[in-house]
Every structure is written in structure tokens, then in C-alpha cells.
């Protein structure tokens, strides 16, 4: 469990750009279950570097409210995010939000996949594909635009 927690531990460095101020974490967080806490909200403060760390938030199955994610949930989510190339088998479904709107989670195969290939003359051809299968087809294609 503690190893999973380390998945969401963070590193921080501080940098300041001329137009943008921000901060990144550099120190590893304690490898313990996080204490329940309200979901922190990002804020900006007059150009001061902004740092929000240790946020592990999930939607509670029972209450529907945000709560800190457990280590197991965080690990599961990380794994699923990494499987973005695995199309979701279940069809997307509509649900009603708290404000009364209707929402649908877009399936992975509706994401835009930005792709590139190197042509025979060394030039790059970039493009976009619809879903992972189309993306793989694009990068496997060997035609060159300047040739007939």
C-alpha cells in the first residue's frame, strides 16, 4: 500500500518565468495514507509561485462528494490512465449532473491522436488520427507526399 502511495508522491522545484510563475514539488511525500481533507482548490496569488501538493481526490461512492482517494484507488487510476490506448469496451452513457445538465464521458476512441512519421527524404509528416487503430495505421504508412 505504501509503495502505491509513493506513486502519487511528488517532487518540487520552483521556477519563475517572466510571464508565468509556478512551482513544482521536489520532496517526496510521507508514504502513509493521507488524512482525509477537503479537496484543495488551486489559487493564484498576485504572481506568487503556486504550489498545491498531495491532492488525491475521488468521488465517494456513497455520498457522491469529493474525498481523498485511497492509495488503491490512486494506483488503479494511474494504471487506467496509462491504458489510454486500450479502448473502453463499455458504451458511453449519459448521466445527469448535480446542476441538472446532461453529461457524457467521451470514449477513448474519440480522442484526437497526434501522429508523425519520417518520410523517405527525412521530412516529417504530422497529422491527427481518430482513435488508436487509425493512429497506428498512420504511422505505418510509408507514402511520401512529394512522390507520385
Amino acid at each position: 500500500m505504501n509503495r502505491r502511495i509513493s506513486l502519487v508522491s511528488i517532487l518540487a522545484i520552483s521556477l519563475t518565468l517572466g510571464i508565468t510563475s509556478f512551482a513544482l514539488a521536489t520532496e517526496e511525500q510521507p508514504t502513509t495514507e493521507p488524512a482525509p481533507q477537503a479537496a484543495p482548490q488551486p489559487q493564484t496569488t498576485d504572481g506568487e509561485p503556486m504550489y498545491v501538493a498531495g491532492m488525491q481526490v475521488a468521488i465517494d461512492e456513497t455520498t457522491g462528494e469529493l474525498r481523498p482517494a485511497t492509495a488503491e484507488e490512486a494506483a488503479n487510476l494511474a494504471q487506467q490512465w496509462r491504458q489510454i490506448f486500450v479502448p473502453r469496451k463499455a458504451a458511453p452513457r449519459a448521466f445527469t449532473t448535480k446542476s441538472g445538465a446532461t453529461a457524457v464521458e467521451l470514449p477513448n476512441d474519440m480522442l484526437k491522436f497526434s501522429v508523425v512519421r519520417i518520410e523517405a527524404d527525412g521530412t516529417l509528416t504530422t497529422g491527427e488520427a481518430h482513435g488508436q487503430q487509425n493512429a497506428r495505421e498512420f504511422i505505418a504508412t510509408t507514402t511520401t507526399p512529394e512522390e507520385e
Binding site: M55, Q132, A135
Partner: protein, 464 residues
């Protein structure tokens, strides 16, 4: 029971790392959430030298800085009281020595019938739904997901010889400008996309998205939201005739787009007029005003298909404009042969009915201008030879990438899934951020060119 469907979207933040752009109070707050574990991706500690204005000294820091600059650029463009959450990740994605998936991105949710929606029964991106309603419509979820290929930097067998470029200065050379790609992909997530099924023409969940309301087919004289499925299937390949019908884009286009590459036929009278052409990516650039004028002569290399100019040309083209058929060899070979035969310019007629010949390639030894034209125009000119005179030029009377003054959407004759419809057409000059390909003449992605106007058309409020 929503947690049973835990996915990349069911988490607001777990990676514990936020990159927050500091912006004017009225600007949208675009928060980039780092989903990478320690030591990799956005946290990669590999030392690197600062590059192109990016002060990061580790690979992870440079990647994060680019994300953050993109967030700052979009945040300083849009007015929203609601934070826009962008999930960010670098991870190994499909790659080979010659091809790679750069990344993937898009809205995580679409929402409809929320307070403040411009149209009922219309899908909006999650970020726009939040902005228009002033409420986080799907709290606890990121608005835009994005993931980029770390192997381009990390795997020597991935896209050999090319890497991500993390500078801010558009000086990527032969590498891949990460800032351009991120700006482009976030734009999709903000609403620059349509959700129509490219195989059936069906609307998403039976109702239009806001983008389709501005997709006008000039042949059918109707917009995509009111078409039948069959009409949408026709329209998605109606090249050159599907345009953006939004007043902000149309009004701004003249300040963004340049004159149209054209072949102006001066004689015979029956063909007199200005025809859209594809400027070559090599040779002398087309000029405005006078352009390059001359008599058109059909090239003949006396070998195989004699008009393809794939071998040295045998007829006299001295001071003429060579007319050449597409096929058999590279465009650069054809034009080089025409120049060697004395031509002052060259025209390549397409060999298929899908627009002007594309005229790609590179050959610094070529010094004459050349253009591609359609199969139909090529045949019409051939029927009038001898006796045809024409001018190759940038025609100030027309804007590149437009039809009837509307900016075109990318609807090639053969559907290109992922690229068709949700981009500007590639005939735009100069190139635009939201074309399907990153082209060398994209002058600067950071200006966002027509993208803010497009977002304004669909209902976003822009900062002054």
C-alpha cells in the same frame, strides 16, 4: 456508483502535482495536472540545458514549462470563472524508427442543457459548459485529458534522430515543437472538434454538438446540425465546400490569411480567370502583382508517359511555362527537368479528381516557381493548346483557404479519420495552428491565429 467506473476521468487530482499559470484576475485559470509518477515523464530528472527561452534544467521541468506556457496562453485568451483542468502525462506510446504517436488529447466530458448554454440540446465541451454556466458541471473530473509520447526522447529506436523541442521560440529545426502540439491539442479540448460518427454520419447521442452548428456545406446550403446522416457523409468529403460559418472567424480572416496561390489564365478567353492552385514547397515563391507570366507549353520527355517530365524534357520550353502531368516521379524531379529545359515556371496537373496536385518536396537547386492545379483545369488547358497564356501568382483578390469568403474546414476527398472536419483546411496561407498537420510555415503557434475567433463563435467569451 460512479466510482465503479473509475477511469482517467473519475479523478480530479491524484498525482499530487499541479502546474498553475498565474494570470490576470479575469483570465481563465488553466491548471495542468501532472499525472506522472516520480522519476519519469514530467518528473524526469535527466539534466538538460535550458533551450529557446525554456529555463528548465531537467527534462521533466522543461516539459512542464511548456505545458504551463500553453496553459498561460490559453488562460490569458479566455474569460471563465471556472478553472479548466488539463490532465498531463508523458508515457510510452506506439512508436517505430520512422513513425510515432505524438500524443492524444480531447475533452473528457461533453455536457448539454446546462444553465447559460447558447443552444438547447447541444453538446459542449466540459470546459465550455463550465465557463458558460459559471458552475463546474462535472465536479471532481478533469476537463481535458492529454498524454504525450515520452519514448520520442527516451527510446533511441523511436523516431530515430528526432526529439521533442521544448523551447518557446519556434526554433525546432527538424525536431517536434512541443509547444505547438500542446496548444493545438488543448484547443481541441476547449471545443475545436465535432463528434459526428465518420462511418455513419450520426450525431453523438442523437444531438448536435456546438461545432456542427457552424459547419456550413456550400453545396447543400445547410449546416451539419440540421443535415441527415447521409448528407453528413456526403459533406465530409465535399472538399473545399465545407466552411466555418461564424462571423468572428470570417471577419478576422482577412487579417490572418494571405492572398491565394493562383493560376491566372489570360488566354484563351474561354478559360480566362483566376484558378486556385497549390504553391510548391520548393523553388521560387510565388509573387504578387506581376507574378510569372508566359505561354503554356505541354512538356514532352519522349519516354513512357511523355508528359510526366520524369526524364529530361526534349521539347523547347525556353521562356515558357511548362504544363506537366502528375505521376511517375517526385514533383521536384518534374520541375527540375522543366527548369533544365528553359521553362520560367511550371504547372503540374493532378491525375486524380481530388484538388490541385499537392506539390510537396524539397530541392534547393530549383529556382523557378511552380504550382499544382486540378485534373479538370489541366485537361481544359490542354484542350486549348497552343494558345494558352497564364500567370503564376499570389492573387490579392482571394484569401487563401477560403471559399466565398468563408474559411474552409478540412474535408479531403478521402476521409482522414481524426483530421477531417475538426481542422482548418490545409490550403490556408500562412498555415494555421488548427490545421491537421504542423507545417514548416506555421509562423508562430503562440498567436493562436484564428482559434480565439472560432471559440468566440461557439460562445466562449474572450478577454479584451
Amino acid at each position: 456508483m460512479r466510482t465503479k467506473h473509475l477511469s482517467r476521468l473519475t479523478l480530479l487530482v491524484f498525482a499530487g502535482l499541479l502546474l498553475v499559470a498565474t494570470l490576470p484576475a479575469s483570465a481563465a485559470n488553466v491548471v495542468v495536472i501532472n499525472f506522472d509518477p516520480p522519476g519519469v515523464g514530467l518528473n524526469d530528472p535527466t539534466p538538460v540545458a535550458p533551450v529557446g527561452g525554456n529555463p528548465g534544467t531537467t527534462l521533466g521541468a522543461q516539459r512542464g514549462n511548456v505545458y504551463l506556457l500553453a496553459a498561460q496562453i490559453w488562460g490569458s485568451t479566455l474569460d471563465s470563472s471556472q478553472t479548466i483542468f488539463v490532465a498531463a502525462q508523458f508515457t510510452p506510446l506506439p512508436c517505430s524508427p520512422t513513425g510515432a504517436v505524438l500524443g492524444s488529447a480531447g475533452p473528457t466530458f461533453v455536457v448539454t442543457d446546462f444553465p447559460g448554454a447558447g443552444f438547447p440540446a447541444t453538446w459542449y465541451s466540459s470546459a465550455q459548459g463550465d465557463a458558460l454556466s459559471g458552475v463546474d458541471q462535472v465536479p471532481g473530473f478533469v476537463d481535458i485529458g492529454s498524454s504525450f509520447n515520452s519514448d520520442i526522447d527516451d527510446d533511441p529506436n523511436c523516431l530515430v534522430g528526432r526529439q521533442w523541442y521544448y523551447g518557446f521560440d519556434n526554433n525546432q529545426g527538424g525536431d517536434l515543437d512541443f509547444l505547438t502540439v500542446v496548444l493545438h491539442e488543448i484547443n481541441h479540448g476547449l471545443g475545436f472538434l465535432e463528434l459526428v460518427d465518420p462511418n455513419t454520419g450520426a450525431l453523438f447521442f442523437g444531438q448536435p454538438d456546438i461545432y456542427t452548428k457552424f459547419m456550413l456545406d456550400l453545396t447543400l446550403s445547410t449546416t451539419w446540425d440540421t443535415m441527415t446522416d447521409a448528407e453528413r457523409l456526403f459533406s465530409q468529403t465535399n472538399s473545399g465546400n465545407v466552411v466555418w460559418n461564424g462571423s468572428n472567424v470570417t471577419n478576422q480572416a482577412p487579417s490572418i490569411l494571405g492572398p491565394r496561390p493562383s493560376l491566372k489564365v489570360l488566354q484563351p478567353k474561354v478559360l480566362k480567370g483566376s484558378y486556385e492552385a497549390q504553391a510548391a514547397s520548393f523553388g521560387q515563391p510565388l509573387g504578387g502583382g506581376g507574378g510569372t507570366t508566359g505561354q503554356i507549353v505541354l512538356a514532352d520527355d519522349s519516354t513512357g508517359v511523355g508528359t510526366d517530365a520524369c526524364e529530361p524534357i526534349t521539347n523547347n520550353l525556353n521562356g515558357k511555362i511548362a504544363l506537366i502531368d502528375r505521376g511517375g516521379c517526385a514533383f521536384t524531379t518534374k520541375v527540375a527537368n522543366a527548369e533544365a529545359a528553359g521553362a520560367k515556371g511550371a504547372i503540374v496537373a493532378n491525375n486524380a479528381p481530388d484538388g490541385p496536385a499537392p506539390m510537396g518536396g524539397s530541392d534547393p537547386s530549383i529556382s523557378i516557381p511552380s504550382v499544382g492545379i486540378t485534373l479538370d483545369l489541366g485537361n481544359s488547358i490542354k484542350a486549348e493548346l497552343p494558345g494558352a497564356n497564364a500567370k503564376l501568382l499570389l492573387d490579392d483578390d482571394f484569401l487563401a483557404g477560403t471559399t466565398q469568403d468563408f474559411v474552409r474546414l478540412y474535408t479531403p476527398a478521402v476521409v482522414s479519420p481524426g483530421s477531417s472536419k475538426s481542422h482548418w483546411d490545409t490550403s490556408a496561407e500562412p498555415s494555421l495552428l488548427m490545421e491537421p498537420s504542423i507545417t514548416p510555415n506555421l509562423e508562430s503557434a503562440t498567436t493562436l491565429d484564428l482559434s480565439p475567433a472560432m471559440l468566440q463563435d461557439i460562445g466562449w467569451v474572450l478577454l479584451p
